[in-house]
Symmetry: C2
Subunit: 408 residues, 2 copies
């Protein structure tokens, strides 16, 4: 079964346009006069349902955006630029750690093998640092000034990964054994603790006028991430009928949306944006994060294993209370009753197709796709409040598009 691209906010990119593509640094920094729309690529907002002029929930689209810019290759360029900008700062920070904490951090970031020999590095997609730098650039700030903040956000993300892997007993991360499987629980916990401290130290040692406000915001975000992870693990222990859709949405916002929002907010702070704009950037990142989570959960059920790298229906087999599943369970349909029965007992060989169908018939898939589209629409609305110039906002939209379409 393959996962069709969900109904998305923008028409898919027609084609790359070689020669006209900006360099990532330009893309990140392009605050300026509103660019003239390119021929054949009209500026046009739209909603998830593709109706264009307004949103399904009746909210008007209060601005127009430039969909032509939002192709995956542009986002890939931004991510590559962010990775290249932030890695030296990350390396410097991690190299300042004492022996064993350094070794675990270098392993986790893919810069060393388990035996301490150098590795090529696979520190992930750098989405969060890219959001920091892109938001700064979009608001007229300098990337160079925000690199420490971007590295701090990346360290926080990775500290939570280290700890989550211990708690969830996950054994693989970025195609390698997780740190706790190599160094033990205690050292993985300690390395995570040290990485949280390192993130805060980067901001505390940063002389930028926004660094202290950024530190407060990042610390609040960590608290939210902790609550999100708590809610996630607590929910998995409860029966399928005991979990409400609001709870799962709140958990996903805390666990996934909060740090994406915080990354955007920090970018705003480093560009000297006012509180209202910073909050709007935060909301943009949160909504995009929720859209991402919804689509990720859809992929977890209907994704093509050859594309996702995960076995088909892994989330259903593990009886995970993902967003489409909880929506299906809450639908009050006969399929919901069937699904609740299936989820009430452990998975049995051969039940997968029936479970997938039950979620689908109970409306779980449609709900998740519409909800994702609605969240993206809200994200765009928030973004337009903070950055009314569509040209300037293009990089952030490209990133939001990238994370919510990552099955492609």
């Amino acid at each position: 079964m393959t996962f069709p691209t969900p109904a998305v906010v923008f028409p898919p990119d027609q084609a790359g346009t070689p020669g006209t593509r900006r360099s990532p640094a330009e893309t990140l920094d392009r605050r300026g006069p509103i660019g003239k729309p390119k021929e054949g690529r009209p500026l046009g907002g739209g909603c998830a349902d593709g109706t264009g002029g307004g949103c399904a929930d009746g909210r008007p689209m209060d601005r127009q955006v430039a969909p032509g810019q939002l192709d995956g290759q542009e986002a890939a360029g931004i991510l590559e630029y962010a990775r290249a900008s932030v890695d030296p700062e990350l390396r410097r920070a991690i190299d300042s750690l004492p022996g064993s904490m350094r070794r675990i951090a270098l392993y986790h970031f893919g810069w060393e093998h388990a035996d301490g020999t150098p590795a090529a590095g696979n520190a992930g997609k750098a989405i969060r640092p890219a959001l920091v730098l892109t938001a700064t650039g979009a608001l007229g700030g300098q990337h160079a000034a925000a690199v420490q903040a971007a590295a701090a956000v990346e360290l926080i993300h990775n500290f939570t990964l280290l700890h989550d892997d211990v708690m969830d007993r996950d054994t693989t991360r970025r195609h390698r054994p997780t740190a706790w499987t190599v160094f033990g629980d205690a050292d993985a916990i300690l390395a995570g603790d040290a990485m949280q401290a390192l993130a805060q130290r980067l901001l505390a040692e940063d002389s930028h006028p926004a660094s202290q406000a950024a530190a407060a915001r990042l610390a609040s975000c960590v608290v939210e991430l902790c609550e999100g992870q708590h809610a996630d693990t607590a929910m998995e222990k409860r029966g399928p009928a005991e979990v409400t859709l609001d709870e799962v949405l709140a958990m996903a916002e805390a666990k996934t949306g909060a740090l994406l929002g915080c990354a955007c907010a920090l970018g705003g702070l480093y560009a000297g944006a006012d509180e209202e704009d910073v909050d709007a950037l935060d909301a943009f990142g949160r909504e995009a994060g929720l859209a991402f989570q919804l689509i990720d959960d859809v992929i977890g059920i209907w994704g093509d294993p050859s594309r996702t790298g995960k076995p088909a229906g892994a989330d259903l087999i593990a009886r995970k209370k993902s967003l489409p599943v909880v929506a299906a369970l809450a639908s009050g349909t006969p399929a919901a009753t069937e699904l609740a029965e299936l989820y009430g007992v452990p998975y049995e060989e051969g039940e997968l197709e029936r479970t997938v169908l039950a979620v689908e018939r109970a409306g779980g898939r449609d709900w998740a796709q519409l909800q994702a589209a609605d969240r993206m629409s809200r994200a765009m609305h928030e973004l337009s409040r903070a950055i009314p110039d569509p040209e300037a906002a293009g990089g952030l939209l490209a990133l939001a598009e990238f994370v919510t379409r990552r099955s492609n």
Copy 2:
């Protein structure tokens, strides 16, 4: 077996002098003209060996201190004052946490029972907040300005306790079941993570000019605490002959000395002290912390169970590589060989007395007591560099005395 007061830096306090004792707030704040020594309480420095005029290692005593002030009751008053000052700030910070993180933190601090009903609170002795506030006052700063910093240090201390208890599988803390035994590993880890974040948020939201430097210093300290805890757990897995005295001392400094030093340093920063004085205060706290650890380890072997609340020889039975044990093992004496043989295999019923004697005959007890006295002497030396006025330094010395004499 009772633990005799080790050879100490100061003659024991003669007697409480009712009516002449300062209020804790006065004690904390008394920077001013050098006070005239009281009748019968001559200012007098001294070394661990009680010789008075100089130190065993040949370093001269470069100043005189006022031993008469350093009684346990004065320290107890300071601690009580610190607890009363910092608790409202701590409560406010913890009350700002979302539901489950708040519940675990309130339980850990003794403000709630496991079922969420209110409890009287037993958040420990507040030694670290007391060091922050006393150092600030001693250098002419205002306590009120440093209360957030004091609460931040206390949160960091408690975050490490939460995590250490998970790693060490300790089941009792402050006479109550540890948080992980009540809420599970994952939630105890998450509550610790949230408390580290909360500590940094307190400093980031603090408008005091020293708050950012304090945040950087506290973050560096957390990294050191992590390395110390790593070294501790790693050492316990190694054979008794594989651990050197330097390693155990470095571990104890990182695990115990670093945060006591950081607390003093933050107090200095909040009083506007220069870097040199701040570093000297840090060194004072570290050395006092090491003295504390040495004496704590001595108590762990020779302490009176009715006073310590621990069963006699618990550390030896658990084959813990405490400082006196490692010193004994490194002594090259026949008793060291005997001890190594005992430590090479798990404890067997009835062996305790033989083990205690082996440590004693190999010189472990004498070494630890001399070392503790030497560390206290170094602590005093560092303190006198930062705060040459003995009257002003009295509160800090009283606290150092208190922590290193807690068996009494």
